[in-house]
């Protein structure tokens, strides 16, 4: 196909302006990502410094750089502080960053795959499915797969819940927001009820209490040696989704249109469902169901960088990491010495956000003539 050769001065100036806009878009993304990366580092240092024992940020920097072998400062801190920063807080901050990033990208992809702005692992009952899978393993002491039994069961539970919600919410090729949220709530309620029943009737009373606290979502009690699995899940998730970003964009055009542009929609969605369930399952196994991160972050990020997944995914990942680190800091600080499950705090921000989003959506579809 050949482009027309006519080239008036006006057309040329329009084209130059357009080229300028394209470059401006890329520059804006680069700036956004760089700013978020700096904020992430600052947030992580804050996460290491703030808590029941306050460590000055300068000392945190010294301890961390010393630990990775890049330190020039003479150690002027106590061994206890080093332990607190490196062995207690560092894994926790890292898990917060990993979980925040993971939930944000899972939410982003889920909204594209289900073609609904309210899709999110927690709201759709996917996290509940993962929790139930994990609890079944704990209560019945299943160790079929050794140390990965728990995440494997959480993955299976997540996938089952996702397929169930998708199948019940879909009618005639369309998923209405109302049906999606209703079936998500209903399925989450049933799964949670089964989970509570299992915990209340189990013989192991003490364990049950610990598990009950975990089902509220929290980052406490994580150790270095359990961190690799969530980390690997995050890298896998972001890697695959970034490679598939163009195809996620196609789904925004509608399923038929996506097919005409070369996407085998059913196969693509099935594969992505497995991937998202895997990431969600592993994250839930590590830190319990933490809600609304996957809902809020993608929407906030789209307001800044637009809707192209090649830009939304990395931005949402960084934003989610920052958000959850701060949510966890707040969870440690607001009622100190008592620690609040971080899931309670994210729900506190996320609930109102959800309501605002729902109203905005209703307004928009009214504007579009009920489309």
């Amino acid at each position: 196909m050949t482009a027309p050769v006519t080239d008036t001065g006006a057309e040329r100036s329009v084209r130059q302006r357009q080229r300028g806009d394209e470059q401006a878009g890329r520059a804006r993304l680069a700036v956004t990502l760089a700013v978020l990366a700096v904020v992430l580092v600052v947030s992580a240092i804050a996460g290491l410094a703030i808590g029941s024992v306050r460590v000055p940020p300068g000392q945190v920097w010294g301890i961390v750089t010393h630990a990775v072998g890049a330190g020039w400062a003479e150690p002027d801190w106590s061994a206890a502080r080093e332990t607190i920063v490196l062995d207690v807080r560092a894994p926790r901050v890292l898990l917060g960053a990993v979980a925040g990033a993971g939930l944000a990208v899972v939410g982003t992809a889920m909204q594209a795959l289900i073609r609904n702005p309210l899709a999110e692992p927690y709201l759709l009952g996917v996290s509940s499915g993962a929790s139930l899978g994990a609890v079944v393993v704990i209560v019945f002491g299943v160790t079929l797969l050794g140390p990965v039994s728990l995440p494997a069961a959480a993955f299976a539970g997540a996938l089952g819940a996702l397929l169930l919600v998708y199948a019940t919410a879909r009618t005639g090729g369309r998923i209405s927001s109302a049906r999606l949220v209703l079936s998500g709530v209903a399925i989450a309620a049933v799964l949670t009820a089964v989970l509570d029943l299992l915990l209340l009737t189990t013989d192991r009373g003490n364990e049950a209490r610990a598990v009950l606290a975990w089902t509220l979502g929290g980052l406490g009690g994580v150790h270095w040696d359990t961190l690799w699995l969530p980390g690997a899940a995050l890298l896998l998730g972001i890697g695959v989704l970034m490679v598939q970003a163009r195809n996620l964009n196609l789904l925004l055009a509608g399923e038929e249109a996506a097919t005409t542009m070369g996407l085998d929609v059913a196969r693509f969605r099935a594969r992505m469902f497995v991937l998202l369930s895997l990431v969600t399952g592993i994250l839930v196994a590590a830190c319990g169901p933490i809600g609304f991160v996957g809902l809020m972050l993608p929407h906030i990020v789209r307001l800044v960088v637009g809707g192209d997944h090649r830009r939304v995914l990395p931005t949402a990942a960084l934003g989610g990491a920052v958000f959850l680190i701060w949510a966890d800091i707040a969870a440690r600080v607001v009622a100190a010495p008592l620690e609040i499950p971080v899931g309670v705090l994210t729900a506190l921000c996320g609930g109102p956000f959800f309501l605002w989003l729902m109203r905005r959506d209703a307004r928009r579809s009214a504007d579009r003539g009920g489309a």
Partner: protein
């Protein structure tokens, strides 16, 4: 003339027990603009869906340059066949340029970036539908007609050699209807287009197929196909067909009253 040859061979399409299209055959030679006309529910959209691989034929074959469209990989077919469909997408926060850029996807490998050639094609496609000024607007905020034009630009950016369009002129004002159809005629591609407006179809299409109740009832050059008798049979309307002195194309004028040929008896 360049373009892909399309041969639809005795295709039957069903939805459950209901027959949407029955034993339809249609051929479009490379570079030809073929129009599909017929009343609501006559099976136009269904037939197009069988070509762009959304509705699998219960029997029959859709041949694209000799290959079975339904046995090619979806991506490979999308490099040859583009479509403008009726379905609307979801809220997306995408700009118009990003929507048109989607059309480049089938030509891209997984990690390919957007090249200057892509950007040039996107600009050309937007200009072809008079949407250059819309490039940076949010797609969600456009009017129905503007959106339609952008979706046509997206299909053009796909560089198809067979372009399938379902009512592309819906919601367009008259100037843009004419411009879009004129653009289709200039494309180095075969075009299969479903149209409501018989006069536009007569002027811009090389040949027409008339569908009624899922069957082809007439086909050929517009002047042979569009007769008062056929229009009475298919649409149940009275009409007069003249050759327009300026355009040389058949001109349909609808007349009030019952058609004498197919008038149902008054009880």
């Amino acid at each position: 003339m360049t373009g892909t040859e399309l041969v639809i061979d005795s295709v039957t399409l069903t939805a459950g027990a209901h027959r949407l299209v029955e034993d339809v055959s249609l051929a479009a030679r490379p570079g030809e603009v073929v129009g599909l006309v017929g009343p609501n529910g006559s099976g136009k959209s269904s037939l197009l869906r069988a070509v762009y691989r959304v509705l699998r034929p219960a029997s029959g074959r859709v041949g694209v340059d000799g290959a079975d469209a339904w046995s090619l990989p979806v991506r490979q077919l999308a490099r040859t066949v583009a479509a403008v469909v009726q379905e609307s997408g979801t809220e997306s926060d995408l700009s118009v340029r990003e929507v048109v850029a989607m059309g480049r996807t089938p030509h891209k490998r997984l990690l390919d970036g957007d090249t200057p050639q892509d950007a040039g094609l996107i600009r050309w496609a937007l200009a072809a539908v008079d949407a250059t000024a819309l490039a940076d607007r949010p797609f969600d905020r456009l009017s129905g007609g503007e959106r339609r034009r952008v979706l046509i630009a997206r299909a053009l950016a796909q560089q198809p050699s067979l372009l399938v369009l379902d009512e592309p002129t819906n919601h367009l004002d008259i100037r843009h209807q004419l411009e879009v159809l004129a653009t289709l005629r200039r494309l180095p591609a075969t075009v299969l287009v479903a149209l409501h407006d018989l006069n536009l179809a007569a002027y811009y299409c090389d040949r027409l197929y008339v569908l009624c109740d899922g069957k082809v009832v007439a086909s050929g050059p517009p002047a042979d196909v569009l007769t008062p008798r056929l229009l009475a049979e298919v649409y149940g309307v009275r009409s007069e067909v003249t050759v327009h002195p300026r355009t040389g194309a058949p001109q349909v004028t609808f007349l009030p009253g019952e058609p004498s040929a197919a008038a149902p008896a008054v009880p």
